[in-house]
């Protein structure tokens, strides 16, 4: 009996060894360590460009920036001839909350109902979405992912593109999205009269105002300590009224922007305007209201047949020139990696490289209130940055290494693995 047992055990052991031996290919995981990046051209964004400097990553933070930092036992990465940039921030995407756009089962960005501010995009983020590794190797390390649909679609969240749970990915900012009612003819088959358009927009705005007032009442009672029934929508909206959460108002047509600026005039809350596709037509008014703007995609069609062909390309520059703080976004789900190219077009069409760089680094960081941890390369900030062999706006440039919160990110994804397998395929025809 005992021999049989031993025999069985030996077989199992051998079998398991056999199973183990069949696994091939090492998977590179993101890992944390101390990295010393030497002799790089450092684009700090806030403190100019530093030539031939070193940058030390320790405990997930930028421990030091300087010349000839002692090597100690850090992992050395020689960055001679290369540049360092802060991780790029995309201020408007649906990354992580949809997998395949045409399959409704994978769409998690829209919930039923007009008034759903409490829907949390963060909860629905799939940290293992295929698009995430595809995106981060381009240098885009941080994105705002946001719900859509209805008056108040939900709460957007800033996420870093590294982490095994949404909580690990969370980037420290949440904001409430609001879709401002539109009073313009949308699309060539819309033949409604000016009156009808204004009527329907006013009606919608009236409904929103009622919701707003209700939230004010809710807040007043809550502040006094009164008891109320569970009302999650109002609970969330009241957080905007007491300035806990900023309000991100999506508005695009020039007339609507002007109406929106009117609407926010007396409201004492934190506001950011998003979209702003026709912002260039009313840039002075936006500047006068001292509101920050998240705009994009830059690579989009003009909003009117009669607009200049390059009006979307010019939009960020014209807003900036009028004195508005601009952040850029792609509104993409699987091609967020094109953010640097959007910024490049904005730079080419009047914004300039320096400002365009700010629009995807320090500006969004400031707008999202996380500029103490990301958005520029400064000592004490999180080590979220990347090494490139040239201007990251240029398609020719290769991004060599990305770091997020001090983690070295594996420079691979499914696209790259397919390239590796099929560049020179076996079994020719």
């Amino acid at each position: 009996m005992k021999k049989l047992k031993i025999l069985i055990w030996c077989c199992c052991f051998l079998l398991s060894q056999g199973l183990m031996a069949q696994i091939e290919g090492e998977v590179i995981k993101p890992y944390k360590a101390n990295f010393l990046l030497t002799n790089a051209k450092i684009y700090t964004v806030t403190k100019g460009i530093l030539e031939g400097h070193d940058l030390l990553i320790e405990d997930g933070l930028i421990k030091a920036i300087g010349k000839d930092i002692p090597h100690q036992n850090h992992s050395i990465i020689d960055c001679s001839g290369k540049s360092l940039y802060p991780g790029f921030i995309d201020s408007g995407t649906s990354l992580g909350i949809v997998e395949i756009n045409s399959l409704t089962e994978t769409q998690d960005y829209m919930e039923l109902g007009k008034f759903t501010p409490q829907m949390q995009a963060l909860t629905a983020v799939n940290p293992n979405g295929v698009a995430i590794p595809v995106t981060r190797v381009s240098g885009v390390t941080t994105v705002l992912t946001q719900p859509r649909g209805g008056y108040f679609p939900g709460t957007a969240a800033l996420i870093n593109l590294n982490g095994y749970t949404p909580a690990q990915m969370f980037g420290g900012f949440k904001g409430l999205i609001m879709n401002f009612p539109s009073a313009v003819r949308s699309g060539s088959n819309d033949n409604r009269s000016l009156e009808d358009l204004e009527k329907s927009a006013t009606k919608t705005l009236d409904e929103i105002n009622i919701l707003w007032e209700k939230a004010a009442t809710y807040l007043a009672i809550k502040t006094k300590g009164g008891e109320m029934d569970y009302y999650p929508e109002m609970e969330q909206l009241s957080k905007v009224l007491n300035k806990e959460l900023p309000l991100l108002i999506e508005v695009n047509a020039a007339k609507d922007i002007v109406l929106a600026l009117e609407w926010i005039k007396e409201k004492d809350v934190k506001i950011v305007l998003t979209g702003v596709a026709e912002g260039w037509k009313v840039a002075e008014k936006i500047a006068a209201a001292s509101v920050s703007v998240i705009t994009g995609p830059v690579l989009a069609l003009p909003t009117r047949d009669s607009d200049n062909y390059d009006s979307p390309y010019n939009n960020p520059a014209l807003l900036h020139k009028a004195g508005v703080k601009v952040a850029l976004r792609t509104m993409e789900s699987e091609n967020v990696r094109n953010l640097p190219f959007n910024a490049g077009f904005a730079a080419a069409y009047g914004m300039g490289t320096t400002e365009a760089l700010k629009a995807i680094t320090i500006n969004p960081a400031e707008i999202f209130g996380v500029s103490d941890s990301i958005g520029s390369l400064e000592e004490g900030k999180k080590a979220t940055l990347f090494i490139a062999d040239g201007d990251p706006f240029e398609p020719k440039t290769q991004v060599h290494q990305v770091f997020i919160n001090g983690y070295r990110i594996p420079m691979t994804n499914r696209h790259i693995r397919l390239y590796q397998e099929f560049l020179d395929r076996e079994m020719q025809p």
């Binding site: 313009v184 009269s193 020039a254 007339k255 607009d307």
Partner: protein, 560 residues
């Protein structure tokens, strides 16, 4: 589905109609309703006659009998059985001809879709391809509906088929005559074609409509070939009757024109392309844009029917006026100009020397006269406008020997108007259609402009004095009566207004009031603002009192 010999049919039908008319007349004698007219012979006396565009005669008589014009001229010998129609102060035009009209045409009944309906291979009738459907069969003369067209001067109309597909059927010419008659003039005048589909089956878009047309044309030619070969050699096998191809044979033989509904310039170009590839007689229906195509059209033999409908001016209310942008005004101005272009299209055709007719297919009836005036204001000559309603359409559909102008032998189709066709005040007083009289004079006089009733109140020392003013226009002059409470205490009295001057913005008149002691001379003067009057009443030898009055919206019928 019998095969028809298309060539003989139109003439056969006309013959049949004429025969019926004659027989009909001979039999109807005793009429216990009293509807039958006394005589079929009339004469219009002493009118201003425009027998055809470019000619105008004053003090002319027109004699017509049994629906045909006998004689037109000055000081004619009037037949003893002719009833007079006083033509003084009337303008007489040839009856208008509308080359594209759908009123009273029923939607054809289509077969049911079979159970396993294959939308990619539908039976032709389910795909909107049924040129063999005759509009004559689906046309039900509805007096109420056709009266609406006749009222604005139309006496002949080409009825086009209802139906959504590309070949809904043939067109029919009818006269808008008496409802008891068969008013058919020509059956199967042309084949109607449109770049439209029934939806949900092949053909679904313009792409397939073009491809299908090419196939149908080629297969019609092969069909003819088969028929011809079969006649020589029965061994080939009989020709399986195809009603669709049958209906298209005369089109491919250049005998029956293809009437193509083509409003936009791209549709016009498509129609021209179709004609280039496979020759047939082409008539473009409903054209309302594409002035650039005029030189191209000039070089081809294409019939043109322009659209009487003009675009709505949606730009009186400006667009989003908060939209800023340097060129905003310029862009909106462009759009505004684009709305004005169709107004001058007809004049451009005239200048290029291309004759054209009109269609009412998109027209709102109330816009007919104003649209004509708009076109004239934008460069179209009055003669060309009239030609487009009369001689041109008659020629285009081959009925110029019986219609299109007022001359002996032609159908008695005429429009009698109170003023020139192009004047603002001109109204249709009577329409003669197929020799029958349709009197619209009452409708004119019952209009607001002909009668006005006002209620007034005057502030006098003895209190408010109330009453009414009634104005009636007679022979271009206003007459009026004023009603008032008699100071004698005998109730309401009426007095005739003297020295009446009634204009759009002012009014003055005087009248006499009998009191117990004397007769007062009262004069009322004041200003009119739309339907409100403010003025004063002046009693000679006494004081002035304020008067206010309001015009009644709808005058009482009793006052006619």
């Amino acid at each position: 589905m019998k095969s028809k010999k298309q060539l003989i049919l139109p003439y056969y039908t006309v013959f049949l109609v004429c025969t019926l008319l004659i027989i009909g007349q001979a039999q109807a004698q005793s009429d216990n309703n009293g509807d039958r007219r006394i005589t079929t012979s009339y004469y219009i006396s002493n009118a201003t006659v425009i027998p055809e565009p470019g000619k105008i005669h004053s003090h002319y008589d027109i004699i017509f009998k049994d629906g045909t014009i006998s004689e037109i001229g000055k000081n004619l010998a009037i037949p003893k059985d002719a009833k007079e129609i006083k033509g003084e102060s009337l303008f007489v035009y040839p009856g208008f001809i509308d080359l594209g009209n759908k009123s009273s045409v029923e939607v054809p009944v289509l077969p049911e879709r079979p159970k396993d309906f294959d939308t990619s291979k539908p039976a032709p009738e389910l795909a909107g391809i049924h040129p063999h459907f005759s509009t004559a069969k689906l046309y039900q003369f509805n007096e109420k509906i056709e009266e609406e067209w006749r009222k604005i001067g139309f006496t002949i109309a080409q009825k086009i088929p209802e139906g959504k597909g590309m070949l809904p059927g043939s067109t029919t010419l009818v006269v808008l005559g008496h409802e008891d008659n068969n008013n058919l003039l020509i059956d199967n005048q042309s084949q109607f074609f449109q770049f439209n589909t029934v939806g949900g089956v092949y053909p679904h878009t313009k792409l397939a409509v073009m491809a299908k047309w090419r196939d149908l044309f080629q297969n019609t030619l092969l069909y003819r070939e088969h028929i011809a070969n079969y006649a020589k050699n029965k061994r080939i096998g009989r020709v399986k009757i195809d009603p669709v191809l049958n209906a298209l044979i005369p089109v491919t033989q250049n005998q029956v024109p293809l009437l193509v509904a083509s409003k936009s310039e791209l549709d016009i170009r498509r129609a021209l392309k179709m004609q280039e590839e496979n020759s047939f007689k082409l008539i473009l229906l409903g054209v309302n844009e594409g002035a650039e195509l005029i030189p191209v059209l000039n070089s081809k033999e294409v019939g043109i029917v322009l659209n009487l409908a003009l675009p709505e001016d949606k730009f009186s209310d400006s667009l989003e006026n908060d939209e800023q942008g340097k060129d905003y005004d310029a862009r909106i101005e462009r759009a505004r100009k684009a709305f004005l272009e169709p107004l001058s299209l007809a004049s451009k055709y005239e200048k290029a020397g291309i004759p054209f007719a009109f269609t009412s297919m998109d027209l709102e009836k109330k816009d007919f006269f104003s649209n004509l005036r708009l076109m004239v204001d934008n460069g179209l000559s009055k003669d060309a406008a009239l030609a487009a309603l009369t001689t041109n359409p008659a020629k285009l559909v081959g009925i110029e020997d019986i219609s299109g102008s007022i001359s002996p032998g032609k159908m008695a189709n005429m429009v009698l108007m109170t003023d020139s066709l192009f004047s603002k005040e001109g109204k249709v007083s009577m329409v003669v259609s197929d020799g029958y009289l349709f009197d619209y004079a009452d409708d004119i006089s019952s209009e607001k402009l002909g009668t006005q009733v006002w209620t007034y109140a005057a502030e006098t020392p003895v209190g408010q004095s109330k009453g009414t003013w009634e104005f009636i226009k007679k022979d271009d002059k206003w007459e009026g009566t004023v009603s008032y409470d008699s100071p004698k205490g005998t109730g309401t009295k009426k007095a005739k207004m003297e020295n009446l001057e009634l204009a759009d913005d002012s009014l003055s008149f005087s009248f006499m009031v009998e009191t117990n002691d004397t007769v007062l001379d009262v004069t009322v003067t004041g200003d009119i603002n739309k339907n409100k009057f403010e003025g004063s009443m002046d009693i000679k030898g006494y004081n002035q009192f304020t008067v206010q009055a309001t015009k009644k919206e709808k005058p009482n019928k009793d006052h006619e």
